[in-house]
Protein backbone atom coordinates (compact mmCIF):
# COMPACT_ATOMS: atom_id res chain seq x y z
CA UNK A 1 0.00 0.00 0.00
CA UNK A 2 1.54 3.28 -1.09
CA UNK A 3 1.13 5.95 1.54
CA UNK A 4 2.71 8.66 -0.53
CA UNK A 5 6.19 8.90 0.99
CA UNK A 6 8.43 11.14 -1.11
CA UNK A 7 11.44 9.68 -2.90
CA UNK A 8 14.30 12.07 -3.70
CA UNK A 9 15.49 12.24 -7.30
CA UNK A 10 18.92 11.22 -6.12
CA UNK A 11 17.55 7.80 -5.21
CA UNK A 12 16.68 7.04 -8.81
CA UNK A 13 19.84 8.64 -10.24
CA UNK A 14 22.14 6.57 -8.08
CA UNK A 15 20.06 3.45 -8.74
CA UNK A 16 20.58 3.95 -12.46
CA UNK A 17 24.28 4.55 -11.88
CA UNK A 18 24.34 1.13 -10.26
CA UNK A 19 22.11 -0.64 -12.75
CA UNK A 20 23.26 0.85 -16.04
CA UNK A 21 26.53 2.55 -15.22
CA UNK A 22 27.76 -0.31 -13.02
CA UNK A 23 29.38 2.27 -10.77
CA UNK A 24 28.36 0.67 -7.49
CA UNK A 25 27.81 -2.75 -5.96
CA UNK A 26 25.07 -1.48 -3.67
CA UNK A 27 23.04 1.58 -2.74
CA UNK A 28 21.54 1.99 0.73
CA UNK A 29 18.61 4.30 1.37
CA UNK A 30 17.16 5.77 4.54
CA UNK A 31 14.05 7.70 5.49
CA UNK A 32 14.74 11.31 6.35
CA UNK A 33 12.16 11.88 9.08
CA UNK A 34 12.21 15.66 8.99
CA UNK A 35 11.67 15.85 5.27
CA UNK A 36 9.53 12.70 5.15
CA UNK A 37 11.58 11.66 2.17
CA UNK A 38 13.63 8.63 1.20
CA UNK A 39 17.22 9.64 0.47
CA UNK A 40 20.50 7.93 -0.38
CA UNK A 41 22.43 6.85 2.70
CA UNK A 42 25.48 4.99 1.33
CA UNK A 43 26.87 3.85 -1.97
CA UNK A 44 29.24 0.88 -2.14
CA UNK A 45 32.07 0.78 -4.67
CA UNK A 46 31.87 -1.88 -7.36
CA UNK A 47 34.53 -3.98 -5.66
CA UNK A 48 33.01 -3.81 -2.16
CA UNK A 49 32.57 -7.00 -0.24
CA UNK A 50 29.25 -8.29 1.03
CA UNK A 51 30.56 -7.94 4.57
CA UNK A 52 31.10 -4.22 4.02
CA UNK A 53 27.51 -3.90 2.87
CA UNK A 54 26.10 -5.69 5.90
CA UNK A 55 28.18 -3.55 8.26
CA UNK A 56 25.93 -0.62 7.36
CA UNK A 57 22.80 -2.44 8.49
CA UNK A 58 22.64 -1.70 12.18
CA UNK A 59 19.88 -0.68 14.57
CA UNK A 60 17.75 1.37 12.24
CA UNK A 61 15.68 0.25 9.29
CA UNK A 62 17.10 0.72 5.83
CA UNK A 63 16.26 -0.05 2.23
CA UNK A 64 18.98 -1.30 -0.13
CA UNK A 65 19.58 -2.45 -3.65
CA UNK A 66 22.41 -4.96 -4.15
CA UNK A 67 23.75 -6.10 -7.53
CA UNK A 68 24.45 -9.70 -6.68
CA UNK A 69 26.47 -12.08 -8.84
CA UNK A 70 26.21 -15.82 -8.28
CA UNK A 71 27.21 -19.03 -10.00
CA UNK A 72 24.81 -21.90 -10.40
CA UNK A 73 25.75 -25.50 -9.58
CA UNK A 74 25.23 -26.60 -13.18
CA UNK A 75 28.03 -28.02 -15.26
CA UNK A 76 29.27 -25.77 -16.75
CA UNK A 77 28.19 -23.18 -14.15
CA UNK A 78 26.03 -20.26 -15.33
CA UNK A 79 26.57 -16.70 -14.19
CA UNK A 80 23.53 -15.02 -12.72
CA UNK A 81 23.30 -11.33 -11.93
CA UNK A 82 20.26 -9.97 -10.17
CA UNK A 83 19.27 -6.69 -8.59
CA UNK A 84 17.99 -7.56 -5.14
CA UNK A 85 15.88 -5.17 -3.07
CA UNK A 86 16.55 -5.60 0.62
CA UNK A 87 14.28 -4.22 3.32
CA UNK A 88 16.20 -4.20 6.58
CA UNK A 89 13.83 -3.82 9.52
CA UNK A 90 15.49 -4.88 12.80
CA UNK A 91 13.16 -5.71 15.66
CA UNK A 92 15.46 -4.50 18.44
CA UNK A 93 15.09 -1.08 19.94
CA UNK A 94 13.48 0.77 17.12
CA UNK A 95 10.33 2.69 17.98
CA UNK A 96 7.31 1.11 16.31
CA UNK A 97 6.45 4.37 14.59
CA UNK A 98 9.80 4.41 12.81
CA UNK A 99 9.54 0.77 11.83
CA UNK A 100 6.12 1.42 10.47
CA UNK A 101 7.12 4.55 8.57
CA UNK A 102 9.75 2.44 6.80
CA UNK A 103 7.27 -0.37 6.16
CA UNK A 104 4.78 2.12 4.77
CA UNK A 105 7.37 3.91 2.61
CA UNK A 106 8.71 0.78 0.93
CA UNK A 107 6.22 0.74 -1.93
CA UNK A 108 6.92 4.35 -2.82
CA UNK A 109 10.62 3.57 -3.27
CA UNK A 110 10.12 0.27 -5.10
CA UNK A 111 7.80 1.95 -7.56
CA UNK A 112 10.62 4.27 -8.65
CA UNK A 113 13.25 1.58 -9.09
CA UNK A 114 12.71 -0.31 -12.33
CA UNK A 115 14.41 -3.64 -12.85
CA UNK A 116 14.40 -5.16 -9.40
CA UNK A 117 14.34 -8.96 -9.65
CA UNK A 118 14.03 -10.13 -6.10
CA UNK A 119 13.12 -8.83 -2.69
CA UNK A 120 14.28 -9.86 0.77
CA UNK A 121 12.84 -8.67 4.03
CA UNK A 122 15.29 -9.14 6.90
CA UNK A 123 14.53 -8.55 10.55
CA UNK A 124 17.70 -9.98 12.07
CA UNK A 125 21.31 -10.49 10.93
CA UNK A 126 20.87 -14.16 9.99
CA UNK A 127 18.22 -13.20 7.45
CA UNK A 128 20.60 -10.94 5.58
CA UNK A 129 23.63 -13.25 5.51
CA UNK A 130 25.23 -13.78 2.13
CA UNK A 131 23.95 -17.35 2.00
CA UNK A 132 20.37 -16.02 2.16
CA UNK A 133 20.82 -13.58 -0.69
CA UNK A 134 22.56 -16.23 -2.79
CA UNK A 135 19.67 -18.64 -2.17
CA UNK A 136 17.15 -16.01 -3.24
CA UNK A 137 19.05 -15.14 -6.39
CA UNK A 138 19.52 -18.75 -7.48
CA UNK A 139 15.86 -19.75 -7.03
Amino acid sequence: MNVGTNVSDDCVTEFNNLKLGKQYRYVIYRLDKDKNEIVVDHKGARDSTYAEFVSHLQNESRYAVYDYHAQTDDVPPRQIEKLVFIFWSPDTNQPVKQKMAYAAGKEALKKKLNGLSKEIQANEPSEVEEAEIKKTVLN
Binding site: V3, K97, M100, A103, A104
Partner: protein, 345 residues
Protein backbone atom coordinates in the same frame (compact mmCIF):
# COMPACT_ATOMS: atom_id res chain seq x y z
CA UNK B 1 1.50 23.24 8.27
CA UNK B 2 3.33 20.74 10.41
CA UNK B 3 1.65 17.40 9.82
CA UNK B 4 2.95 16.06 13.07
CA UNK B 5 0.57 18.36 14.89
CA UNK B 6 -2.64 17.28 13.17
CA UNK B 7 -4.51 14.92 15.45
CA UNK B 8 -7.12 12.56 14.09
CA UNK B 9 -9.49 10.09 15.68
CA UNK B 10 -8.86 6.36 15.28
CA UNK B 11 -11.58 3.81 15.96
CA UNK B 12 -11.71 0.02 16.03
CA UNK B 13 -15.35 -0.98 16.47
CA UNK B 14 -15.36 -4.72 17.03
CA UNK B 15 -18.15 -7.17 17.67
CA UNK B 16 -17.58 -7.10 21.43
CA UNK B 17 -15.29 -4.15 22.18
CA UNK B 18 -14.99 -0.66 20.78
CA UNK B 19 -11.68 1.14 21.11
CA UNK B 20 -11.22 4.74 20.12
CA UNK B 21 -8.67 7.42 20.66
CA UNK B 22 -6.25 9.77 18.97
CA UNK B 23 -3.38 9.41 16.54
CA UNK B 24 -0.03 9.28 18.29
CA UNK B 25 -1.47 7.58 21.38
CA UNK B 26 -0.46 4.00 22.06
CA UNK B 27 -3.58 3.37 24.06
CA UNK B 28 -7.25 3.98 23.15
CA UNK B 29 -8.72 6.61 25.47
CA UNK B 30 -12.22 5.21 25.19
CA UNK B 31 -12.72 1.51 25.49
CA UNK B 32 -16.23 0.15 25.85
CA UNK B 33 -18.55 -2.64 24.79
CA UNK B 34 -20.12 -2.53 21.34
CA UNK B 35 -23.49 -2.87 22.99
CA UNK B 36 -26.03 -0.54 24.51
CA UNK B 37 -29.20 -0.59 26.57
CA UNK B 38 -32.64 -0.03 25.09
CA UNK B 39 -32.37 3.56 26.31
CA UNK B 40 -29.09 4.07 24.42
CA UNK B 41 -26.83 3.90 27.46
CA UNK B 42 -23.28 2.69 26.94
CA UNK B 43 -20.65 1.23 29.25
CA UNK B 44 -20.42 -1.68 31.65
CA UNK B 45 -22.26 0.05 34.49
CA UNK B 46 -25.37 0.65 32.42
CA UNK B 47 -25.17 -2.73 30.73
CA UNK B 48 -24.35 -4.77 33.82
CA UNK B 49 -26.81 -3.30 36.26
CA UNK B 50 -29.74 -2.41 34.07
CA UNK B 51 -32.98 -4.35 33.92
CA UNK B 52 -33.72 -4.07 30.26
CA UNK B 53 -32.30 -5.88 27.26
CA UNK B 54 -28.73 -5.44 26.14
CA UNK B 55 -28.64 -4.66 22.44
CA UNK B 56 -25.87 -5.72 20.06
CA UNK B 57 -24.71 -3.00 17.71
CA UNK B 58 -22.94 -5.37 15.35
CA UNK B 59 -24.16 -8.96 15.04
CA UNK B 60 -26.15 -8.05 13.14
CA UNK B 61 -25.15 -4.58 12.03
CA UNK B 62 -27.69 -2.04 13.35
CA UNK B 63 -27.16 1.32 11.60
CA UNK B 64 -29.18 3.39 14.05
CA UNK B 65 -27.38 2.05 17.09
CA UNK B 66 -24.05 2.37 15.25
CA UNK B 67 -24.76 6.03 14.59
CA UNK B 68 -25.43 6.53 18.29
CA UNK B 69 -22.21 4.78 19.16
CA UNK B 70 -20.23 7.04 16.80
CA UNK B 71 -21.72 10.19 18.31
CA UNK B 72 -21.12 8.90 21.83
CA UNK B 73 -17.51 8.19 20.85
CA UNK B 74 -16.79 11.81 19.91
CA UNK B 75 -18.57 12.97 23.06
CA UNK B 76 -16.48 10.68 25.24
CA UNK B 77 -13.27 11.73 23.50
CA UNK B 78 -14.24 15.30 24.25
CA UNK B 79 -14.06 16.62 20.69
CA UNK B 80 -16.36 17.91 17.97
CA UNK B 81 -16.75 15.44 15.11
CA UNK B 82 -16.76 18.34 12.62
CA UNK B 83 -13.13 19.08 13.46
CA UNK B 84 -11.55 15.64 13.36
CA UNK B 85 -10.69 13.20 10.58
CA UNK B 86 -11.58 9.62 11.37
CA UNK B 87 -9.65 6.47 10.56
CA UNK B 88 -12.01 3.53 11.01
CA UNK B 89 -10.78 -0.05 11.01
CA UNK B 90 -12.58 -2.04 8.33
CA UNK B 91 -14.07 -5.19 9.77
CA UNK B 92 -17.30 -4.95 7.82
CA UNK B 93 -18.72 -8.15 6.41
CA UNK B 94 -20.24 -6.49 3.38
CA UNK B 95 -19.57 -3.43 1.24
CA UNK B 96 -23.15 -2.43 1.91
CA UNK B 97 -22.53 -2.09 5.66
CA UNK B 98 -19.38 -0.03 5.08
CA UNK B 99 -21.22 2.16 2.60
CA UNK B 100 -23.95 2.84 5.14
CA UNK B 101 -21.43 3.78 7.80
CA UNK B 102 -19.58 6.16 5.47
CA UNK B 103 -22.88 7.84 4.70
CA UNK B 104 -23.66 8.17 8.42
CA UNK B 105 -20.19 9.56 9.12
CA UNK B 106 -20.23 12.25 6.44
CA UNK B 107 -23.88 13.20 6.56
CA UNK B 108 -24.98 12.74 10.13
CA UNK B 109 -21.85 12.72 12.28
CA UNK B 110 -20.31 15.24 9.85
CA UNK B 111 -16.63 14.35 9.99
CA UNK B 112 -14.43 16.28 7.54
CA UNK B 113 -12.20 13.37 6.36
CA UNK B 114 -12.36 9.60 6.37
CA UNK B 115 -10.20 6.58 5.72
CA UNK B 116 -10.65 2.88 6.26
CA UNK B 117 -8.33 -0.10 6.05
CA UNK B 118 -8.66 -3.75 7.08
CA UNK B 119 -8.02 -4.78 10.68
CA UNK B 120 -5.42 -7.29 9.51
CA UNK B 121 -3.34 -4.58 7.79
CA UNK B 122 -3.41 -2.39 10.92
CA UNK B 123 -2.34 -5.31 13.13
CA UNK B 124 0.51 -5.91 10.70
CA UNK B 125 1.64 -2.28 10.78
CA UNK B 126 1.62 -2.14 14.56
CA UNK B 127 4.14 -4.99 14.57
CA UNK B 128 6.33 -2.88 12.31
CA UNK B 129 5.72 -5.01 9.23
CA UNK B 130 3.88 -4.60 5.97
CA UNK B 131 3.69 -8.31 5.11
CA UNK B 132 2.48 -10.95 7.56
CA UNK B 133 0.18 -13.86 8.23
CA UNK B 134 -2.28 -12.52 10.80
CA UNK B 135 -4.31 -14.65 13.15
CA UNK B 136 -6.88 -12.43 14.83
CA UNK B 137 -8.72 -14.29 17.58
CA UNK B 138 -11.70 -12.07 18.22
CA UNK B 139 -14.56 -12.39 20.65
CA UNK B 140 -17.03 -14.25 18.49
CA UNK B 141 -14.99 -15.17 15.45
CA UNK B 142 -11.40 -15.75 14.39
CA UNK B 143 -10.03 -14.41 11.14
CA UNK B 144 -6.82 -15.52 9.46
CA UNK B 145 -5.47 -13.24 6.74
CA UNK B 146 -2.42 -12.80 4.58
CA UNK B 147 -1.32 -9.18 4.35
CA UNK B 148 1.14 -8.29 1.60
CA UNK B 149 2.69 -4.82 1.39
CA UNK B 150 -0.21 -3.44 3.39
CA UNK B 151 -2.91 -5.06 1.26
CA UNK B 152 -5.09 -7.66 2.92
CA UNK B 153 -5.49 -10.57 0.51
CA UNK B 154 -9.20 -11.16 0.78
CA UNK B 155 -9.29 -14.14 -1.59
CA UNK B 156 -7.41 -16.31 0.88
CA UNK B 157 -8.89 -14.83 4.05
CA UNK B 158 -10.61 -17.37 6.30
CA UNK B 159 -13.09 -16.71 9.06
CA UNK B 160 -14.35 -19.20 11.64
CA UNK B 161 -17.20 -18.82 14.16
CA UNK B 162 -15.05 -19.41 17.21
CA UNK B 163 -13.39 -16.88 19.46
CA UNK B 164 -12.61 -15.90 23.02
CA UNK B 165 -16.21 -15.75 24.15
CA UNK B 166 -16.82 -19.43 23.57
CA UNK B 167 -14.17 -20.13 26.18
CA UNK B 168 -16.26 -18.29 28.81
CA UNK B 169 -18.98 -20.93 28.80
CA UNK B 170 -17.38 -23.60 31.01
CA UNK B 171 -16.78 -20.97 33.71
CA UNK B 172 -20.38 -19.76 33.92
CA UNK B 173 -21.31 -22.48 36.36
CA UNK B 174 -19.15 -20.81 38.99
CA UNK B 175 -20.97 -17.49 38.78
CA UNK B 176 -23.52 -17.42 41.57
CA UNK B 177 -25.71 -14.49 42.50
CA UNK B 178 -28.43 -12.32 41.09
CA UNK B 179 -26.94 -10.82 37.96
CA UNK B 180 -28.28 -10.12 34.51
CA UNK B 181 -26.93 -12.13 31.57
CA UNK B 182 -24.48 -9.46 30.53
CA UNK B 183 -22.96 -9.24 34.01
CA UNK B 184 -22.84 -13.02 34.35
CA UNK B 185 -20.88 -13.23 31.10
CA UNK B 186 -18.49 -10.54 32.33
CA UNK B 187 -17.85 -12.49 35.52
CA UNK B 188 -17.38 -15.77 33.64
CA UNK B 189 -14.94 -13.95 31.35
CA UNK B 190 -12.96 -12.70 34.36
CA UNK B 191 -12.70 -16.21 35.75
CA UNK B 192 -11.56 -17.51 32.39
CA UNK B 193 -8.88 -14.84 32.17
CA UNK B 194 -7.71 -15.73 35.66
CA UNK B 195 -7.54 -19.47 35.19
CA UNK B 196 -7.11 -20.49 31.58
CA UNK B 197 -3.68 -21.69 30.56
CA UNK B 198 -1.97 -24.05 28.13
CA UNK B 199 1.02 -24.46 30.37
CA UNK B 200 1.52 -27.83 31.98
CA UNK B 201 1.26 -27.17 35.69
CA UNK B 202 0.99 -30.04 38.12
CA UNK B 203 -0.81 -28.28 40.91
CA UNK B 204 -4.43 -27.24 40.91
CA UNK B 205 -5.19 -23.77 39.65
CA UNK B 206 -7.27 -21.57 41.87
CA UNK B 207 -9.27 -18.39 41.51
CA UNK B 208 -10.78 -16.30 44.30
CA UNK B 209 -14.36 -15.20 43.77
CA UNK B 210 -15.64 -11.84 45.05
CA UNK B 211 -17.42 -13.60 47.92
CA UNK B 212 -14.18 -15.14 49.16
CA UNK B 213 -14.81 -18.65 47.89
CA UNK B 214 -12.26 -20.38 45.70
CA UNK B 215 -12.66 -22.19 42.42
CA UNK B 216 -10.26 -25.08 42.00
CA UNK B 217 -9.52 -26.57 38.63
CA UNK B 218 -7.12 -29.19 37.36
CA UNK B 219 -4.74 -28.60 34.50
CA UNK B 220 -6.46 -31.31 32.48
CA UNK B 221 -9.83 -29.55 32.71
CA UNK B 222 -8.30 -26.23 31.70
CA UNK B 223 -6.37 -27.74 28.78
CA UNK B 224 -9.53 -29.30 27.46
CA UNK B 225 -11.22 -25.90 27.40
CA UNK B 226 -8.22 -24.08 25.96
CA UNK B 227 -7.74 -26.71 23.25
CA UNK B 228 -11.08 -25.76 21.69
CA UNK B 229 -9.11 -23.27 19.62
CA UNK B 230 -6.96 -26.02 18.15
CA UNK B 231 -9.41 -28.91 17.92
CA UNK B 232 -11.62 -29.46 14.93
CA UNK B 233 -15.34 -30.01 14.95
CA UNK B 234 -18.17 -29.71 12.44
CA UNK B 235 -17.77 -26.02 11.76
CA UNK B 236 -14.16 -25.51 12.46
CA UNK B 237 -10.78 -26.97 11.56
CA UNK B 238 -8.58 -25.53 14.29
CA UNK B 239 -6.68 -22.24 14.09
CA UNK B 240 -3.51 -23.97 12.97
CA UNK B 241 -5.34 -25.31 9.92
CA UNK B 242 -6.77 -21.90 9.08
CA UNK B 243 -3.22 -20.58 8.86
CA UNK B 244 -2.00 -23.64 6.99
CA UNK B 245 -4.76 -23.28 4.40
CA UNK B 246 -3.69 -19.73 3.68
CA UNK B 247 -0.04 -20.75 3.41
CA UNK B 248 -0.89 -23.56 1.01
CA UNK B 249 -3.18 -21.34 -1.08
CA UNK B 250 -0.69 -18.52 -1.38
CA UNK B 251 1.64 -18.04 -4.34
CA UNK B 252 5.11 -19.44 -3.80
CA UNK B 253 6.74 -16.04 -3.77
CA UNK B 254 5.13 -15.03 -0.52
CA UNK B 255 4.70 -18.45 1.16
CA UNK B 256 8.01 -18.25 2.95
CA UNK B 257 7.53 -14.68 3.99
CA UNK B 258 4.11 -15.46 5.46
CA UNK B 259 5.48 -18.45 7.39
CA UNK B 260 8.30 -16.41 8.85
CA UNK B 261 6.02 -13.53 9.82
CA UNK B 262 3.12 -15.07 11.74
CA UNK B 263 1.40 -12.62 14.06
CA UNK B 264 -1.23 -13.64 16.56
CA UNK B 265 -3.45 -10.89 17.89
CA UNK B 266 -6.59 -10.60 19.98
CA UNK B 267 -6.81 -11.06 23.72
CA UNK B 268 -6.91 -14.86 23.60
CA UNK B 269 -3.37 -14.83 22.25
CA UNK B 270 -2.33 -13.79 25.75
CA UNK B 271 -3.46 -17.05 27.35
CA UNK B 272 -0.26 -18.34 29.01
CA UNK B 273 1.43 -20.91 26.78
CA UNK B 274 -0.70 -20.10 23.74
CA UNK B 275 2.07 -18.73 21.56
CA UNK B 276 4.33 -21.70 22.28
CA UNK B 277 1.55 -24.08 21.41
CA UNK B 278 0.80 -22.21 18.21
CA UNK B 279 4.47 -22.24 17.23
CA UNK B 280 4.95 -25.97 17.78
CA UNK B 281 1.62 -26.99 16.26
CA UNK B 282 2.12 -24.89 13.16
CA UNK B 283 5.79 -25.84 12.73
CA UNK B 284 4.84 -29.50 12.71
CA UNK B 285 2.37 -28.96 9.87
CA UNK B 286 4.08 -26.34 7.73
CA UNK B 287 5.50 -27.28 4.30
CA UNK B 288 9.18 -28.31 4.37
CA UNK B 289 10.84 -25.16 3.05
CA UNK B 290 8.77 -22.90 5.33
CA UNK B 291 10.28 -22.03 8.67
CA UNK B 292 7.52 -20.87 11.01
CA UNK B 293 8.38 -17.81 13.03
CA UNK B 294 6.03 -15.93 15.31
CA UNK B 295 6.50 -12.19 15.45
CA UNK B 296 5.91 -10.63 18.86
CA UNK B 297 4.49 -7.28 19.78
CA UNK B 298 6.55 -5.11 22.15
CA UNK B 299 4.08 -5.85 24.91
CA UNK B 300 1.26 -8.30 25.55
CA UNK B 301 -1.09 -5.37 26.01
CA UNK B 302 -0.67 -4.65 22.34
CA UNK B 303 -2.65 -7.75 21.46
CA UNK B 304 -5.85 -6.22 22.76
CA UNK B 305 -5.27 -3.00 20.87
CA UNK B 306 -3.10 -3.92 17.88
CA UNK B 307 -5.68 -2.64 15.42
CA UNK B 308 -6.02 0.67 17.25
CA UNK B 309 -2.24 1.11 17.57
CA UNK B 310 -1.70 0.36 13.89
CA UNK B 311 -4.30 2.96 13.00
CA UNK B 312 -2.85 5.44 15.46
CA UNK B 313 0.57 5.19 13.86
CA UNK B 314 -0.59 5.01 10.26
CA UNK B 315 -2.76 8.10 10.50
CA UNK B 316 0.01 10.03 12.26
CA UNK B 317 2.50 9.59 9.40
CA UNK B 318 2.89 12.81 7.45
CA UNK B 319 3.03 10.75 4.26
CA UNK B 320 -0.46 9.42 5.05
CA UNK B 321 -2.17 12.83 5.14
CA UNK B 322 -2.68 12.90 1.37
CA UNK B 323 -4.77 9.72 1.53
CA UNK B 324 -7.77 11.02 3.49
CA UNK B 325 -11.07 11.08 1.62
CA UNK B 326 -12.53 14.54 2.15
CA UNK B 327 -16.24 15.22 2.52
CA UNK B 328 -16.43 17.24 -0.67
CA UNK B 329 -14.60 14.49 -2.61
CA UNK B 330 -17.18 12.03 -1.32
CA UNK B 331 -20.10 14.25 -2.27
CA UNK B 332 -18.79 15.27 -5.67
CA UNK B 333 -17.57 11.94 -6.93
CA UNK B 334 -20.56 9.65 -6.72
CA UNK B 335 -20.09 8.80 -3.08
CA UNK B 336 -18.95 5.29 -2.44
CA UNK B 337 -16.82 4.87 -5.54
CA UNK B 338 -14.20 7.20 -4.13
CA UNK B 339 -13.91 5.10 -1.01
CA UNK B 340 -13.26 2.05 -3.14
CA UNK B 341 -10.67 3.96 -5.10
CA UNK B 342 -8.73 5.59 -2.27
CA UNK B 343 -9.00 2.93 0.43
CA UNK B 344 -7.19 -0.19 -0.79
CA UNK B 345 -9.44 -2.61 1.06
Amino acid sequence: MNSDEIISVVADIGNLYTRAGFTGDDFPRWSTFTKCTETMQFGDEALGYGNGQVLDILQPFNPDLYENLLKKMFEKLGVQSKDYSLLLANNFQTKHDLQKVVEILFESVEIPNFFTIRNAALSTFSAGRSTALILDIGAYSTTASAVHDGYTLLKTQIQAPIGGEILNEPFRQYVVGEYNQFKKTCLARDIKQGLLTYEQIDSTQQYELPDGNFILMQQAQLSEIADKLFNSNDNFKGIQHMLLDIINNSVNDIKQQLCSTVISTGGSSNIPGFLNKLQTTLSALAPPMCKVKLVMYPSNQNRYHSVFIGGSILASLSSFQSLWVAKNEYQESGRFSIIERKCPN
